[in-house]
Structures are given as C-alpha cells and as structure tokens.
C-alpha cells in the first residue's frame, strides 16, 4: 500500500471537514451570553448575623442538622457557633465543640476552668457558608459539580461530584466537608429548598433571639438590605477576594 503526500493531505483535509461540519451545529456560549439569554434574577440572597444578640444556645446548629440530614453525632456541620473568651492579659480562648450544637453551658474551655474575674470580654459568633460572589470552591471544581445559582447560592450536585476534595481545600472559611453517607462534598445551602419556597432557613427560623436573618440584597425594602446598606457591618476574611455575602454586626478583631 502506498500513499503519496498529496493523497494524505487531501484525505486529512476531507476527514477534518467531514467531522467539523456536524460540530458546527453547536455553538459555544460564554457564561455572560448564557446569563443574558436567560435573564437576570431579581433575588440575591444574603445573610446577616448580629453577634450582639447571639447567646450561644446552639439551636441553629441542631435545627440545621435535622433539617438538612447531616448526621447528628459526627462533628461535621453546615453551620456552627464559636465561643470567644478574651482574657485581661491578652490571651484568647476559642472553641466550638460539635459546632456548639449542645449550647455553651459550661464555664470550662477544653477542660480548663476560666477564672471569671480575669475575663475581659466574651461573645459568640455563628458561621455558615458565605455564598461568596466570587466563590473559590466553584472556581476549582474540576467537573463543574458545584455551581452558583442565579440568586447567588452555591450548591453541589451530589450525582456529579467526584469527591476529590479540591473545593474543601479552596474554601478559606472551612465550610465544606464530605458527607459521610453520600460521600460527596457537602455545604450550607442557605436551606435553598426552603428559601425558594418563601420560607426562612432552618437556622433563622429556630434562632430565639433574632441573631440570624436572611434577606434579598436586590430588594431595597428588605429589612436585612436596609441594615447592610445603612449600618456598619463587616464580613469575614475579605483579604481572599471571594466577596463573602454573610454580613456581621459586632465583629471583633479576634474573630477568626
């Protein structure tokens, strides 16, 4: 069998053309084009944590675990409450056993009694997914199993996640973990199944003190939006450039 250079080139050209023609029926769209074609959402979910109101009862963590079927006994959790105890000598004690699920009723921290007269200040800070505007977890997912919805919430496709853990590594807030039963990446979804039906998230619903609030940043009349716009609020770890969307009232420089 012989094949001249001319034949080879000719046939290669033909084959390329023949295989390229059916492909031309498809069109590559940029994310911006897709967004333009489906229209923009008039909702942007945001969260507000008022640390001044939090008493560390842990009801939010309990409610979240039950609502979202996160196994109750293992220490993993979608949301948690941290206790900060700062001493007069500048020392700090921080803890969150079981994510603060059982409430902070003990005066001991990691089995050490904290002398009450030495305490300068103490407070609780609750944490949940920041549903970042520029989520690092979505950027690093190799298969696109985690994605951002139009209304700003980051979700995980449990049927497509390969369980590589890159998103867990990429989150500066340590929000993600592997679900022990589904064996895929798991995270706080702002109770997406609830908020899209007009309900509050489980943690907001169960907070007896109104320390947790959820709102729509695109609605100027939303009470949460009003606070974020008109009062002094801050976010966690803005140095990573992920543009977190959980706002805090009363954050302290010691908060990690």
């Amino acid at each position: 069998m012989s094949c001249s250079r001319r034949d080879l080139l000719k046939n290669t050209f033909k084959a390329t053309l023949a295989s390229a023609l059916p492909l031309s029926a498809f069109k590559m769209l940029s994310p911006a084009q897709v967004k333009a074609s489906v229209g923009d959402s008039d909702v942007r979910w945001v969260f507000l944590v008022d640390t001044e109101k939090c008493v560390g009862c842990g009801l939010c963590v309990k409610a979240c675990k039950n609502e979202n079927e996160v196994p109750y006994d293992p220490p993993i959790t979608r949301t948690w409450v941290e206790r900060y105890v700062l001493m007069k000598n500048g020392q700090s004690h921080i803890e969150s056993p079981f994510g603060g699920r059982d409430g902070y009723t003990d005066t001991k921290i990691r089995e050490n009694e904290i002398p009450a007269d030495q305490i300068a200040k103490g407070f609780f800070v609750s944490k949940l997914c920041n549903q970042c505007k520029k989520p690092a977890c979505v950027q690093v997912c190799p298969v696109g199993a985690t994605y951002q919805t139009m209304d700003g919430v980051v979700l995980v496709d449990r049927k497509w996640c390969i369980g590589c853990g890159y998103c867990i590594m990429a989150c500066p807030y340590g929000m993600r973990f592997f679900h022990p039963i589904h064996r895929v990446a798991e995270k706080c979804t702002f109770c997406y199944h609830r908020i899209t039906k007009g309900m509050k998230t489980a943690c907001v619903q169960n907070c007896p003190f109104g320390a947790r609030k959820i709102g729509n940043l695109k609605d100027p009349n939303d009470p949460v939006t009003k606070i974020i716009m008109n009062e002094r609020v801050s976010v966690l770890k803005d140095e990573y450039g992920t543009k977190p969307q959980v706002y805090y009232i009363g954050l302290d420089t010691n908060v990690r």
Binding site: P74, G99, P172, F177, F178, P180
Partner: protein
Amino acid sequence: MSVETIAAQGGEHMVVHGLEWTAKELFTYPNEFIYWSIQIVMYPYMTGLVAGAFVLSSLYHVFGQQDLKNMARFSLVFSLALLPVAMMPLQFHLQQPFRGINVMFTPHFTSAIAAFGIVFSTYAVIVLSEIWFVYRVYFVDQVNALKGKEGAKDRFMYFLYAVLTLGAFDTSDKAVALDKKAVKILAGIGIPVACFLHGYAGFIFGSVKANALWMSPLMPVIFIMSAVVSGIALCMLTYIIIMEAKKWSTIIAKGKGDESVKVIAGAELDVITKTSRYLLGFLVAAITLELLDLIFRGYTAMKSWDILRSVMYGKDFINIFVLQYTLGNLVPFILLLMPRLTIRRIFLALILVLFGVFMMRWNVVIGGQAFSLSFAGYMHYHLPIIPHNMETYKEGLFGALTVVATPFILFWLINKVTPSLKYR
C-alpha cells in the same frame, strides 16, 4: 482520643473522611480534617518520577548527550511503566472513584485539576509514540526472526510484534533515519509537556489561595526541579539494581574472574557517574528555589507567618530540616561530590535523594494541612498502618505501598516486549 472521635465512632456505617487520622489541637473549625492524605503525597511524587525519567531520556535524544546513551533507552521505557501509576493515587483518593472519568466528560477549565486528563493523555501519547519509533526496527527484526516458528509462545510473540509494527516493515536506511528524526522531535516536544505535566501538579497546590503554605508562584517551578531530581535518582537506582543482578548472574554462571563481569561493572560505574552530574545540577536548582521560598515567607512575614513559623520551626522541624533538607538533600549532595565515587556510595546517596523528595512532598501536602484555617490551632496526621476498612487501606500505608510497587511490576512486563537493558 477526643470526645468527638469517640462520638463519631458510635455511628458504625458512617465514615467521616479524615476523622480517623486527624488529631486536633487548640481551635480548629469543626469541618477541618486532613482531607488530602498519603495518596495526595504519592500523586506529585509519582508524577514527578514520570516527568523526571522522561526528561532524563530526552537529554540524550534531543541534546545528544552521548554519556546518557545507555540510560536513555531504559529511562524511556521506565517512564512508560510509571505513567499509569501517576493516575493511581488520584483514583485511590477519590470519594467516588467511578466518577473520576467525569473530568474528561465535563472538564471545568477554571479548575487546575480539570485539564489533568488532557495533559496526561497528551503526554502518554508522546511517550508511547516515542517508544514505538525507538523500537520499531526491533519489532520488525523480531517478526522476521519468529516467522514460521512453531510453539504457542513463539506464535503469540510473533503476532504481538506483528501488531506492534503497525504494518510498517520498512527498515531501509532512509526509513530508519526518519525514525530517528521522529524520536528527536517527539522527545523535544516531550520535555516541555513533561515539565508542564508536573509544573501543573505544582500549580494545583500553588493556586490554593486559602492555604497559606501552598500559595506561592514558585510552587510549580519547585515541583519541576524536584521532579527531575527524583526521576533521575529512581532511574539510576533501578539501573544499578538491574546491572548488579546481571553481574551476579554472570559471576554465578562464568566465575568471578571472567572478562564479561569486568565489562558489566565498568560500564555500570561509567553510566552512573555521568548521570549523577545531571542529578547534582537539578538538586542544586531545587534546593535554591525551596530556600528562596522559605526566606521570602520569613522576610515578608504576612499574617500567616506566625502559624507557619510555629509549624516549620516547631512541630514539623524534624520532618523539614532534619529529614528533608539534611538527610534528603545535604548528605547525598556531599556523598556525590566526594572524590572516588563507588556504586555503593552512589546507591546510598540515591536512596536518600528519593527519600528527600518524598519528604518534600509530604511536608507540602501534609504540612499544608498541619495548621487550621483559623490560624489558631493545629492538626496532626496519623498515617493508618493496619487497615480495618477500605478507607484505611486506600489512604494508609498499604495503599501507598501498592502505588510504589506497581511501576516495577509494569516495567518487568513491558521490558519483556521492549528490552531496554542491553549493555555494550
């Protein structure tokens, strides 16, 4: 054992990934564990060996380094044996191993891992075709030699080689010259691809902005240099072992004073001494970059430096400064530079170099998870030794040993078809 660990073990069927081998100290976030364990240490280690072995063979094929001629063929075939093993640790590590192929179906290109499948396959194609061009004439010779022979084994080998020639039986001078040219071109393309494959592994870590230890633009370059170091060291080590085995089998067959024993021993020392010069060069480059990274972190002393310093100079001091830099870099460096090299001394130095690169991978992957994202606590990794379920096998000592053993088994198989250890 913490209260949390005991409580978690109450739920029998529920395995919280990472809980078993992570010990926490002071304040860490509830979901923080050592998620990337021994297999992720193995992944850049094995990829590095592949890339290094290929670069070594290319030094001869592309730059015509005649002193590497004997080594080149061997390291090329060895890099093929190592190739599938670069994928193995990833498969072992995935929580959903059967979905691993999704990376090829829906690659999400903003992710550093997404292109791995593509880069890796490209590299595999280059290595396979280069080997084909190197061995094509040999395949044709075998087909001619085995033609018409009876016996099941000969028949099988005949068909195998016939298939391997891909129908190209032309062994004229012109065709052979073309083969050589093709090898040169492929090896030339292969070097940047091999470096890319491995630099890319470095990028996977270096681009994680949440991790204070990993995030560094130097990471990919450091990974390439140490990759080449480990690749060359492994090729030399395997070469020594095989040549020693040949020497001893010759001694047993022909007696100690036989001329052929001296020929083998002389050729062995010659090849190894020459290759060790390249090893030294890359070793210097790797250490320089690593120290630059360390000094820069200390000098700029960003927010994370406090906790990084306490990990590097405190908790991981032995791992980093004693095992990696002293035992893995400095000692072999001196051993290789001292005059009157002997095979025995080189052998020791090579083992230490391989160990040093492994410790470097360990200190990056495990060390990067040794401190909490809160910068207020630590995590310690306890490698599972005796497995008691699939998870502790896969991400334990025996999983890692499986990965280490595989390339040697593969090399033994491949070498039966493409012999790469002719000494002359």
